[in-house]
Symmetry: C2
Subunit: 432 residues, 2 copies
């Protein structure tokens, strides 16, 4: 029951353009409530945290301490099934080795004129990672955020996770421990973001906050941006599958539903040049839907935002893909490498029928935190670069200053900044 | 009349901590006004732009067209004094050659298991650069934003600059032309940001907006963030000069004032182990202040936010510098390289007495758009990386999927995502 868009039909461009700008999320205006919570946490610190946690998460810090103890973390490792723990280890190792390649190199050099220039990278000192509670409390996301931070060399990584009634998902604790994170607080919502950004008596502030969350968390991140750094504001997930006729419709249907089951606002799109495959996939989606735990969510996503685009040729799918700028792009075609160079806007690309997007969610090694809602046009997935920063370095001697100084003075004067001009001129005995 | 802080005195830590958190800007709450302007530009496009420009900039697009013509740009080049044009060229060439080294390299490889992984970088397709009007309309900032975008390979670079009464600073147009930018609109404020983010009939939308601006521009950038990318929200400028006794007090005073003259909220700080030098610098500041065009601004900045920190030793200045995380850090000491490795948080570092920060503002080659207000703890200056984005690539064959698939299934099941599990299992014939 997804929408069908036929590139060969009249009015396609108009329909596609409308499809592109369809809003999938109702933006809840929680700014005022969030502002009050942040101000309160800044003013009253731990006491405010205790009150909000009692009210929103039903947890009493006098009974269950805010900070998760080492013993609890160790117990969680024991409680997680061996198979899951093993899988987390596979994932952690692969994520680490892929992300290690992203470490930027310093570049310090002297130019022809003898001016020393440089870019030096250093890790952020302290980072907070928000982990949502409830069904969206994913251990895989803990690894995807914490491992790159660790690889970057961040000294202190802190996790905030809401613990309704006091319980934290043991797999989340196990993933944290595997990633080397042991400073974990039972905190959720805007109050968690405020505590990480401004600190309290118990929690030292961090310099950057990453991780997904609900509307309150997103609004809080936007508000504290500037005091601390933040990663992207994540929206609902999406996939575009470009498939040729030689595909198993059941495989493609499963991939579309893997996206749809995340959220009723998630979006799954199939683009194919083969109407028969499109029909077969649609039928397979309906069949498979019925058997899912989260059938209701997946059905709503597929009904409201799912789409099947019939393209004139696979080549013609490329400009559409670049306009959609999907978070995930599967190229389930015979020669995916042939199309790859023409794709400009996508968070991650999965090549060939044996690379379902789900592998990237867990064990591929690349990061699953990717730009959503067309933001792949201007942003990238999470990486080691999000946990480091660059300082530029400049060094002139008297000779270089004599050579370059006059141009600096000319520009300073033209901009009306005479103290700027003097700062150079005084060293060249041109003044003062 | 700047504040004095003596590291050897009792209560220093407390006073320094208070100094660190002093707010230098009154944050104007213009969010509601900005929201209305953005909504209006989205709804009425060019008509709204014409009305706001008439109202705020006193310009009638029926008389002076919104877009600056090629002829005007060429005329501006002629109008700029040869000395300034030459200096802009020196700056452009040096900025380009430094930034060319920042171009990231693709990394496509196969791991031991035969899994193909990759990071591929592509340029953002269209970028908007906001250039403030009035006295803050700096041609050097045009170069610092446009040249890196050009080096990155951005196809379309658009400039919006408010033109009170219709006039645009010729040096701004000349800098744009030198950087290869010819799509320039007479637009300012929140309406300019809205037009760039959402587009109108005349202006095609861009994918990212960079450049500084007033409170309205900053609020508008925050609000459109997500629809487009934005660079940092720039605050008032700051410098920390660490100086030993062997300095010319007049040079140091000139550097402090070069920062102070930017804005009454700018901040200039001297840290030295020599009380005599400190006193001499303070006297020189008072002397030089009187002769400046912008004496009033510089005096207010120095009076309200200037500081002289007496440190026990130069080594002891380093942890303070890391806490201040200054936008600009001058190391006016005999052996600056010796301290360099211990500095972690700074936007840019200027080594030795012959490298005044002003060189970095104009002709050093490095970027002058740098993190302010302690944000060097978590962010970097503008670079080519701000104009590119990374797509990750994953490729498995049947064999790799058999090896890695079970771990992905285990994690999917543990996260309660059975369509995820099926997407892998169905390809391994583990399920129907």
């Amino acid at each position: 029951m997804a929408i069908w868009l036929d590139q060969a039909s009249e009015g396609f461009e108009q329909r596609f353009a409308a499809f592109l700008t369809t809003k999938r999320e109702v933006s809840e205006d929680v700014n005022t409530a969030v502002r009050a919570i942040i101000d309160d946490v800044r003013a009253r610190g731990d006491m405010a945290l205790a009150e909000y946690s009692k009210k929103f998460d039903g947890i009493d810090f006098a009974v269950t301490p805010m900070r998760v103890s080492e013993a609890e973390i160790d117990a969680a490792i024991e409680a997680v099934p061996a198979e899951v723990l093993g899988a987390l280890k596979v994932a952690a190792v692969r994520i680490e080795s892929h992300h290690r390649r992203q470490l930027p190199k310093d570049d310090i050099y002297e130019d022809d004129m003898g001016v020393g220039l440089g870019s030096r990278w250093t890790a952020i000192e302290a980072v907070g990672l928000y982990v949502p509670g409830g069904t969206a409390s994913y251990p895989s996301s803990v690894l995807m955020n914490a491992v790159p931070a660790k690889v970057a060399g961040v000294d202190r990584i802190v996790i905030a996770v809401p613990a309704t009634g006091g319980a934290v998902n043991p797999a989340v604790l196990a993933a944290a421990k595997l990633a080397g994170v042991t400073e974990i607080y039972r905190l959720g919502g805007a109050q968690a973001i405020a505590a990480l950004a401004y600190g309290t008596k118990t929690i030292a502030p961090v310099a950057k906050i990453t991780g997904p969350g609900n509307a309150y968390v997103a609004a809080a991140k936007r508000q504290v941006f500037g005091t601390v750094g933040i990663d992207m504001i994540a929206g609902p997930s999406e996939v575009l599958v470009i498939a040729d006729k030689d595909n198993n419709p059941d495989w493609i249907a499963a991939d579309l539903l893997a996206q749809a089951e995340h959220d009723a606002s998630a979006q799954a799109i199939l683009a194919t040049d083969d109407a028969e495959l499109a029909k077969a996939v649609e039928a397979a989606v309906e069949r498979q839907l019925k058997t899912l735990n989260r059938a209701e969510t997946a059905a709503a996503s597929w009904r409201d935002f799912g789409a099947i685009i019939l393209v004139k040729s696979l080549q013609d799918a490329i400009p559409l893909a670049n306009r959609i700028a999907p978070e995930h792009l599967e190229l389930a075609i015979a020669d995916p490498e042939a199309l790859l160079s023409r794709i400009r806007n996508a968070g991650a690309i999965f090549l060939g029928a044996h690379t379902p997007e789900v592998i990237g969610d867990y064990v591929g090694g690349s990061n699953h935190v990717l730009p959503t809602a067309r933001s792949a046009r201007f942003s990238s997935g999470l990486s080691v670069l999000d946990f480091v920063k660059r300082t530029s370095i400049l060094r002139l001697g008297p000779e270089q200053l004599r050579t370059l100084g006059p141009a600096a003075i000319a520009l300073a004067v033209s901009e009306g900044l005479d103290a700027h001009a003097r700062s150079v001129a005084i060293r060249l005995n041109l003044e003062g």
